[in-house]
Structures are given as C-alpha cells and as structure tokens.
Symmetry: D3
Subunit: 293 residues, 6 copies
C-alpha cells in the first residue's frame, strides 16, 4: 500500500527532501566538517515513546542524497506499531552523511509516526462500521504530501489533495456565488466532468437545498449528533447515492458518539494538526576515525 | 523587532509561500473557477480560541501574490494577545484570490499564532530571571523559517538556524571524533573563528571534560535539577565566561523547577513541536457577483 | 469566462512564458542588440487568414516581461471571430522588446487562435443538442495549459487536466488490474472520494461490465454509430445517472453522424492536435531611431 | 547523426521531459495508484498510420525517470520509415511507470514522427538539387528543441536555433534601424564576428540594397518564381559567395516549382507547424498483478 | 551602447544577482538584523584607485531587489574614467538593504571597473589602426555575462559568448575530426548556415590548409610577429574576405609589436583574467536610528 | 582535509557546475556537434606555469555530468606543487564530453590553482608564528564557494562564509547603530548565542571602546605596524581571551613586517582577488573518429 511505489510522488518527495536538507544543513554540518572523520558507520534509530512507524521510505532517500552508497535496514515495516525502547531502523552510511542527515530524518520520522499513531486511534474507533476516516487540508504548509502519506500509513483515507482535484462548495463559495443552487449548477455545467460536487452545509435548510441542487456528496459541518440524524434522514430519503461526510472539530469523543450513524465518511483535521510527535533518538555506533593526512 | 524588515528573510519567505500556494492550489481553486465571480471583496479573519497573533506579515505576501492590489487591515499587531471572538485582520482582494489563499493563510496563522502563544507561556515563567528561552532544530521540515519567526514573536530567542551557523558538539560528534577534547581542539583550529564552541553534556564527567577542553558554552542535556546544580558549580568555578544552557524535555513544570538556577539559557523543542494550533476562521463579506457575459 | 482571471493559472502561465522567451531569445535578439535603437514604438498584429482570436492574455504578459511599461490595445476580444486583413491588437512598447517578443507572441497567437477556430467548428455542429464537446490529453508536451485554454475560448469544455484530477480506467489499467470490476472496486475504496470513476469501453461486453461495476461515467471508444446506439441503450436502462462519452477519431463527419444520439459528451483530440495554425503577421510602426552616443 | 549524443542537448531535453511529466502526471496517475499493481511488465508501441520514427531517444529518458531500471527495445531506428501495423518499440518497466509515462511518450512520438515524416516528403522533392531544406522559428512555444530534432531526423537542416545564434535583419529591424545599409553596417561593426549577416528582402530593390550593403546571405521572402529568378541573377552577378535562401509559405507545390532555381536554401515553417501527427498506440502485455498485503 | 537596454540580458543578470545575494547574505546580514535600525539612508561609493566605471546598471538592480524603493544617483556614467578620491555613485535605500548589499555591490564594481580599465589600455594601443580588440572565453565560471559587459564598457568587442554561437575549429577539434579540411567540410554542410567557420592555426602549414578548406576566419595562435607576417600574406593572397585574428598570450608589449600588421582582430584573455581589481569603498551617511518598539 | 568529502558542499558545487556548463555550452559545442565523432578518448591537462593544484574534485564532477562513465586519473593530488611542463591529470571520457567540458575545466583549475599558489606564499611567510591566515568576503560574485576552497587547499583558513554565519560589526554598522557599545550590546542580547562578536576598529579609541564593550574578537583595520603594537597592548592587557585580527591591504611586504606581532589572525582579500591565474593547457590524445552511418 506504500506511497513509495508511485513514481511521481517519489519525484515530488525528493525535491522536497532536497529543500529540507538545505534548510537545515545549507553549506554543511560545520561541526562534523572540522572533525576530519570519514568511513562507513552505522546509526540506529530507536523509540523513546510508543507509536506507529511512518517515514522510512523518505529516510532512505535522505541518506541516498548524502551518500549514494548508504542503505537502511528496517527493523519494523511502515505501519507497524512500536513501543518504547524498540529499534526501528539502522542507517549504514558515510559518517558525515549520518551526522548531516540526523536531525532531518528524526524530525520527519517523529512527526509522521505521530500522525500515523494518532490516525490509527481514530480508525480503531470506527472499526466495525462502514464509515471511512478522511483527512482535511488543515496541514502544515509545504509538508502536506508527507502528512497525508502518514494518514494512509495509519489507516486513514485521503480526501482531495488540494483545491485542484475536487470540488467542495464551502460557505464562502456559496456566498460568493449567491446560493447553493447556483453554485452547483455552474459546477455541473463547467467543471471537469470527472469531478463530483460536494456541498458544505451547517444546518438542515442548507442540507435540503444541497440535496435538491443535485449535490453528489454533502458535508455536515459542525453539527450536533441530533442535527446529523435529521440531515441523514433528509438525504437518504431523497437519494441513496449521495455520499455523506461529517466534519468539524472531530475528536475521539465526538467520533465515539457518532460512530453508529449512517455516515459514509468522517473527516478530521486533528489527526494531522493535533497529533503529538513521537519521541525517537539516533545513536551512532562508530569506531573513532583515524585523522586524514 | 519584526522579521519582515530583513530583506533577505523576506525573499526566502516569498519563495516558500509560492511553493505553499502551489501545494494547495496548483492549477487553481477549481471550485471558484467555475463560479464566474469577480470583483474586490473583503474577508475577516477572527479567533475561535485565544492566542498570540503571528504571521500577518506572511498573509499579506500570500494575497499580494494572488492579487497585487490586495491589502490587509490589521486589527491587532503581531505579538498581541487575542481572545475568542476577536477580529484579527481583514483582507481586501479580488474574490477569487480571497478564496484561493484562504486555507493557506489560515493554516499559517493558526500554526504560528499557536507557537507564539505557547512560547509566551514559557517566557512568562522565566520573567524576573536572567535566563533566556531558546528554540531548537526540532521543527517541521521545510517550515523552520516560519516557526522560528513565531518563537521570536512570542518573546523567545532563536538558537542557531541550522547546522551551518553554529558549532554544537553533540554525543554523536563526540563518538565520531573520539572524545570531547579532540573535537573541541579540532573545531578551535579549523572552524570559522567567529563561532563559539558549545559541547553537549549528559553527566558531570563530561561537564568537566568540556570545561577543561575550553568550550565556550555547555549544554546540560536531560539532567535532573540536582545534576544541574552541580554542573553549574563546576563550570562557574572554572570560568565565569562560559555560557550554560539547559536542554532536553523542557516543559512548563521543568521550567518552573529550574528557573532559579544560575543558567544563561534554557532551550525547548516543545515550544514549536508541541504547541497546539490556534483556532481561526475566515468569513467573506461579499456582494453576490453578477455573472460575466 | 476568461482563464486570465484565475490567479494560479496566471502564475503557471507566467513561468511557462519566461521559459518560452528563453527558448527563443536566450541572451537576446542579437540582431536588434547591435542596432542602437531605443524608444517606445507600436506594432500591430493583423490577420492573414480567418480565425477565432485566442491568446491576447498571454501576449500582454510576454511584453510586460520584456518591458514593464508596455501595454496592449485590443481591437478584438478573445473569442471573437476575425477575417483576413483585420487588425487584432496593437502592442506599444520599447522597440527592442517589440522585436524580441515578436516571434513568440505570433507563434502563440497563431497556434491558439487556430485551436479556438477549429474547436468552434466542432461546437457549432453540436448546437441544438445537449452534447458537450470535451478535449483530451493528446496535447503538445509542455503546452497543454495553453491549448486547453484555447479550447475553452473556442467554446469547448475541458476534460481532466492530467492524470491527477480524474479517474479513467483505460484498457491498459484494466489489463493491469485484472478486469473492469476489480479496478472499479479498488478505485471506489481508495481514491479521493470526490472523484467519479469513468471506464473506457470498446465493445458491448465491456459496457455491460462497466455498468454493473458501478462506473459513474462510461467512454465509448472508437465505436461505430450502431454500436453506440446499443451501448447507450444498455447504459440508460441500467442507470439514468451514468454519464456517456463518445471518443476516438472524432472528426467533423463523425460528429455530424452522431450528434442526434443520447450522449452527454463527445471528446476529441483533433480539436487540438489537428487544428491548423492561423496566419498572422506583425508590423512595426516605427520612427527611425536616432543613434545613441 | 543522432541528437542524443550531444551531452548538453540531452541535459536540456531531460529538464524539459521532467516538466512534461509534471504537466501530465503531477501527483501521479491516480488511476493506477489505487490499483495495487506492481512488477515489471512490457508495453509495445505500434503504428496505426505510416510515418518516420523520431523520438525514441526521449522515450527512453521518460521511462528512465519513472523507473531507473526500465529499458527500451527498438524495433526500428530513428529515421526509419514505418507503415500501419508495425511495432516500433517495446518498453520494459515497472507497470506503474508504464501507465504514468504512456500518454507523454505517445504524444511525443506522434508529434515528432509526424514532423520527420512531413520533412522527408519535402526533402525528397529537393533530391538531385544542391538546395538544402531549412526549418524556421515558427515552432510550438517550449517544444522547439524537439521539433528541430525531428526535422534533422527527417533529413532537413536546422536554421538558427533562436534569436541568439544568428543575425537576420528582417523587415521590422530594417524599419527600426532606418534602412538596410545602416543595419548591415552596425551589425558588421558590433556583432560577434563569427556571425554572418542575412538580410530579408521582399522585392528587387531590397535585394539590390542588401547586395550592396555586403550581406553574407539574402532571404527572398514570399517572392514569385519570376521575382526569384531576377533576384538570383542580381545576387550572383554581384558576388558568387552570397548565400541565397527562399522563404515564405513554402509548401510542396511551391517547392516543386522552384526546385530548379539556383538557390542554396529553402526554409519552411510548414514542415513543423503543418505536419500531421502520426497515429500510434501503446498496448500493455501484462500478467494480472497479485494484490499487495 | 549599454547592455542594460537589452531586455533578455537584464533578465539573465537579475537571476544571477539573486544568486550572488544568496551566496553572501543567505538568511540575512545577521549583524544588521540585531541592530533594530530602519529608515531610508544614503551611502556613497568612492574610488581609492583610478579606473573606468563599469557595473552601475547591476548595482541598481541589487538594491532594487533588497528595497524596491531604493534608487541610485550616478556621479559618473559607465565608461567614464575616474581617479582616486572621486565619488562614483550614491545609493539611497532602507538602511538594512544598504548594509546587506554592500559587499556584493563593491565586489561587482571593483571587478568590472578593473576589467573596463584594463581593456581600455589595450584599446588605446590599437587606436589609429583598423584592428578591433576581442575578448575570449577565459572568464570566471558563472560570471562571464558581467565580464564581457565590462569589456564592452572598456571599448572592446565581444567574441562569441560561448560554444553555442560560433564555430571555431580548435586544435582538439581538428585532432578529433582527423584534419582541418574534413572538419571545415562537415561544418559547412551541417551547421547553422548563419555561422562563419573559424580555424585555429599555429603554423604556416595549417594556415594554408585552413585557407584552402574555405575557412571564413583564421586565428593565428601564439605566433611570432614574423610568422604572423607570413601567415597574413598567405591568407590575403588567397582571399581578401577572410578575416584574420591574432591570439595567444597577448599583453600590452605584444600588442604594441603587432599593431601595424594587416590584422582584423586581436583577441586577449588577459583583459579579463589578468585585470587588477579597482579599489572602491562605501560609506554610509546615516542618522543613528531610533530603536523600534 | 578535502572539501569534497562534505556531502552538502558537494551538492552546492554540483548545482553551480551545472550553471557554469550552461553558461559556456548552452545548446552544446556546435563545433563538435557537426563533426560526427564519438567514442572514449583521453585528454591530458598539463602545466605551462608553476602552481599549486586545486580543483580536481570539481573537474571530476564536470565530466561526470557530461558523461557518467568518464573518470579522471590524478597525476598529482590537490595541494601539491607543480612546475612548468608537468602533467596534472588525465580525463578519460566520450570525446564530445571532452571537448564540451574543456574550457570550463581549464578556467576552473587555472583560477583555483592560482589562488592556492598565491595563498601558500602568504602562508609560508607566517610559518613559525602562531598567526593564522584568513580569507575575506572580497570574492568573485557567484564563485566564493570555489575560491574559499582554494584558500584551504593553499593552507589558509576560511573566515566566515557570508553575512549569515558570523557577526562583524563594521564601520557602517557602527554608524547605523550609533556607536560600538550599543551595537555590541544589541548583538549580545539578540543574536544566535553561538556567535562571537567581532568589532572592526581603525584607531586606538575604537580599540578601547571595543574592548570595553565586551567584543570577543577585534579587527585592526588598515593600521600601521606601530598602531597595531599599541592596539595589541591595549587588548591583551584587558583580556587575554580576545582574539586579534589584522586586516586591510595585506600584501607580502606587509605580512613580513607584522609577522612577529602578537596577532591571532591576519586576513587578506588579495589571496583571492589578486592571485594570478596559473597557465594550463589540455591536449586530446585521439584516434580519428570513424564517421557515423
């Protein structure tokens, strides 16, 4: 299921990783530059907290960029759960590359494994229902590709990637267009015909308007459980093919509360923006380097 | 003290913001593209939680990129605290630009204001002492420039920006070099002479070795308060000019515990990676657009 | 309905136009460099064949890049038909900019106006029916953004922009996945839920399989009119909401033949790749420049 | 004679091909992404029309970018003629790479083989004369490098690549400079001394002026055969070393008409902009992929 | 005659200048960043040695990049000679921009004015002859555009810009091709027909072979005056239209020695690579800034 | 000690080398393009003047870019001295790559070996003292990375790389800030705490002010030997830990004069900007190529 197999995603990720390296290391790790060290060494990355491993794919790329002959030994596969003290992976590489790529690889793994871990908790709450967990566009600027990857590793499903691959008519679009009906109609007439049309609604009037406008998918935004029940009833009565998504401040409590409703999707920004970082560390296993002459 | 006045930082930020826009909006907000709307409108960004405003500088740039004639009216200045319900800023711009830049500007403000808010809580704990709060390199890949900006807005001080503008001899450098003394000596002999040499220590033996090696600054990493007291004594006795930094899992409790020690700096990764996002929202104030012919 | 109003599309177009200028003019038009000419002049672009004007938006950008104080006077608006001899637009700019941007602006206008012209002929054939004309991904590498723009100017509607904003399960996907049913199922389960699923079919068995698999849209590829009639019957009987697209070697004859069928869309690669260039020319109206000293 | 052997051209082409891939596939072929397929497969590209093969060099690069271990088996070499039904090349690659690079490689081959085919028809008309066929700068923006390559594959010769590697004093330059004589003189005095000076002429007066100004090469633009005969007489009488180029709406009829004149070059924009695309297709030969676990 | 008027050259120069700024100032002048200074100030650049002013065009761009509202007052025009103590230009700009752009603008002016100064000395030696002074491709990597500009400011003429806009068959080309005759023939048959063919020769046999092969221009490389005399005789006798260039370790002495020969060009690498930097300095005229609050 | 071992520096260098190749060779060496030559050949680079070899690391990269299977045989190691006539290195590569990369590799080696050679002369003067030779930021725009590398090869030590990795409060900073004391204080309070603070002084009053302000390092700029003696006395009396750097028009004479002073560093711009190019040449050893069919 790995993202790494799509060749275009890997190309995009590599460009980003190059930038991340420049951000941290620009003209190099000046500390290791002065040390006159060289030679292949290995470093182990291990857990100081529990989590779900995500990001090894990218760590491999980071060290390949710094040392084309480096390689990574995976103790766990991405998506596997780990507990405190466990070894996750071992990097074998030129020692300067190990030191230069250390912080970036840890930051990446800690962040992504944290998201995968948090996502999995949400996914487990939905187990046994037909509801699928979606992410949102509330992501860290510049880092979405990776954060959405971690959601998938955690067991969630990705919503649209950006503004360009899905139509969601939100409150501000509705205002700008002058109503739901008008907005849906225009989208129906002019958009790429492979796109469904989703409408964001916050009350039952809007739900009815969306349904009648021919929306393919309806988002129930920030509604109480009671409101959702009524909204679902309206929608299902009208057309069984319309997909229903609950959204807005979805946390674990809320999720437990609504897991038995007739929803297709629940989307949560929190699985990305509120997931705590895992705590990981990296330890070199080095033989002291002989000075260069 | 604003970052925005440094011309090079602004240049770097603009490049990043261009990328962030591409990430979210690539070939455009296809939802607003089909709506046949145009004309200058305004949108207000207001708070749904409390926080410390950070990021307006960048929001201005985002909308300038989308509409060179857009402008922002600041209700609060960066660094000011806000509470739930307050209006933070108003963007006046071409309506498609307002819709296209919406998510990015919110993601940015929510993340940065969250960091500034969390940093300020730490800074307040240190008030009345000589200790300064520093950040670390535990930042979201690709977003450090902005996260470190938010720390400054919150009242913190930046540690080195990356591996290239400061020498910290860490555990793995020490192992690779074959000891603290050797590493410090090499740095003294070969590094850019404008750089101080900091050594990371985890116990009193290392503190003594660092002191005797001539380190300019010593980091006490993950030590208990008792250990810190002894380490400080060793250092101050040897040379009053050596700067002392406490680091490692610094949270608010720990900070309160050690605020009365004779430290120069406390550094915390948590002020960035564990700060909760502020909750902000954006509302268009639009006149329904007339269809184009 | 102009593309030029979407801010992200304009940003992408500008990057491309910069590259196009470099391709033709790299270190400059060395012929005009040696001439010691300067000063504001005007040049008129006029038609030597008939066509539908498309591309003025980009010509403005080209000259703005070469001379920020240049401007364009539009004799016709984009989308208007012109005949031989008509003046289309006048560029007022620094004379070296006029000479440097000449070939690129003509190449662009000739190609885009040719596409718009050819597209309109197809669109006119469909007038009075509910069928909409779509383009395809058979475009000149690197120039798709512009070619799809010209289709819209000509009155056509864009299909998906690329592989990333629409799911079409084509013959090779079906083979790779091991059948239509399996492919549709996987897409239903894992893709961005805002995307419809279209299946390409070449015979009635595939049409039935696609229909039963739950495809949202079905492409009838390279079928005879008779086959189409039967395919449409199968599909409409099963589910009235399924969209039907005819495709494959659609030329004007074929279009006339099938215009009375119960189709939703006809897609044609020819409107882009087989449209003849319009013939345009550019004439300077200059006052001989005084030599510089 | 292959373009592929020049290392700088290959570098430029690779950059372009990366962009072309991004244009079509951006965040990936989402259809194949959801299919859980993997493993090496092969695809054959075969002809559905006749043509002259051009572009294999670039197709290899496209698949190398998507899968470094891919390779291409050439059934025909570039420059060879093919007829309907013939296999042109086989690509062996990871299946997702095969699907992702399919449209781009076909678009490229269809366009380039079309140009090579059309060019060869023109070249054949000139066989047995000393006249060489040149291309022009009337090319698709951003795609010139490839189009000029196809001209060479077809047997044509390239004129200058852009405004930067050749001096042609055209009508608008003459106007701007205040006359042919003045323009030639300035070019003679100031340009890179390795460049010849060509003057575009449209009547016999201009031809005489060009000849007397010392032009190294003279373009007879849009002249009738009769005018050409007289122009050639004027030029040859004056100086046998001056090169003569006929240009302007050169099609096959015109070419046949003037093939017996004492010309050095005929240049044609049509060989690029009016060449019809060849019709090619790509077929996967796949073993159904086992699902990943 | 200024380079600044060609719009493409200015575009290329701006890209380079952006890189130069990043090289020196990356995340900013950290010294001025901490100073809390702001406001418009002025700085004068004055001479501490004599020279010929070159580069003001670029200095303007540097400060525009750092502060769009900055401007430059020119005390001298480019190409004018200055002596020790003279004020050359005044920059008025935001004070941080003045400090950030200082070193780059001085490095640029010192290098370019040095080249212009040295070039002019060579040019003066040739005054009264028909010989023109050319530069070569012996330039600092990445800086050629600017160095060739300075040659023009100093009164020299540019040879080809790179390997792409002129054909010179040099010793290694001749070896690779298997002789002068073969190389010239191939170039005549296949190169862009707007290019002359120059052959590098080091002895009289080669001169004769070049002449007979039909070379348009002949370089006499590293010959003694006596050899040159004979070579010129051979060439002129054969064809008066062949251009003759003397090259190879041309310094002022050599130039004086050969200035009376019947040469068309003398080319010198020394005017660029051996020209001493001018000594310039920049002084701020500032009012102490009030601290920001 | 080689720069080549730092992976980030190598990444930056490669980007630059790509640009340098484009500058010279853009669409290729058109002379070798027409020659129909191919096959592996070798070329030797030998010395026509004495010098200290620097730059082989980069020459390897240049040819790798042009021909991934090329390699370099080093006759001398970087840092070794060579005399006239010696062979320095042999490049084995595809012949077109050899011709295309020739000028760039020579320009690079000649410039860098010249700097290394000149630097070593300065370093030798300081032998037997504790004084270290530093470079400055007076470098060729865009080429600093390479020039500073050559200084290290010659035996010098690098000062800060740019404005971003060291604080030097210079005359203009002092003016802008309103005095040395104020500037030092602000830097102490706000800068990255790993940076020392150096103050530039031009007379004894400034030296005293710098000392009392707590500067970590003091630059004696353009002082006479007598002034230096007094300045050193003031500084050493106050604090033995303050580093002292002499700067300003340091040439070999000046260096001999001050080598016995109690200085820590002498910095010289001349070792870079006034170092003469070494004279090197490259000779192909080729077998005449068979024509391609």
């Amino acid at each position: 299921m790995s993202l790494s197999v799509d060749p275009m995603v890997l190309k995009l990720a590599r460009k980003k990783l190059e930038e991340f390296l420049e951000e941290d290391a620009w003209v190099g790790d000046i500390t290791s530059q002065v040390l006159d060290i060289s030679g292949k060494q290995e470093a182990v990355i291990y857990a100081k907290s529990e989590g779900v491993l995500a990001g090894t794919t990218f760590v491999k790329e980071i060290f390949k960029m710094l040392d084309p002959e480096s390689y990574v030994i995976e103790r766990l596969r991405e998506g596997e759960e780990f507990s405190r003290g466990e070894e996750l992976l071992v990097v074998v590489s030129e020692v300067k590359a190990l030191l230069t790529g250390e912080r970036l690889s840890l930051n990446l793994l800690q962040r992504l494994s944290g998201i995968a871990h948090f996502t999995r908790r949400f996914v487990k709450i939905l187990e046994g229902t037909k509801i699928q967990l979606l992410d949102t566009r509330k992501t860290t600027p510049g880092f979405r590709l990776f954060e959405k990857y971690a959601v998938r590793v955690g067991g969630g499903r990705n919503h649209r990637i950006g503004l360009f691959d899905g139509i969601i008519i939100k409150d501000n679009h509705i205002k700008a267009a002058g109503g739901i009906r008008k907005a849906v109609e225009m989208a129906r007439m002019k958009a790429n015909p492979l796109l469904k049309i989703e409408v964001e609604t916050t009350n039952l009037e809007e739900v009815e308007e969306a349904v009648e406008s021919g929306a393919d998918m309806i988002m129930l935004d920030n509604m109480s459980k009671d409101q959702m029940v009524k909204a679902i009833e309206i929608i299902r009565k009208y057309d069984k093919n319309i997909k229903i998504e609950a959204s807005g401040n979805i946390n674990e409590e809320k999720l437990k509360e609504i897991r038995d409703l007739d929803l297709d999707f629940v989307s949560s920004g929190a699985i990305i923006h509120s997931s705590p970082w895992c705590d990981l560390s990296k330890e070199l296993r080095v033989v002291p380097a002989a000075p260069e002459f």
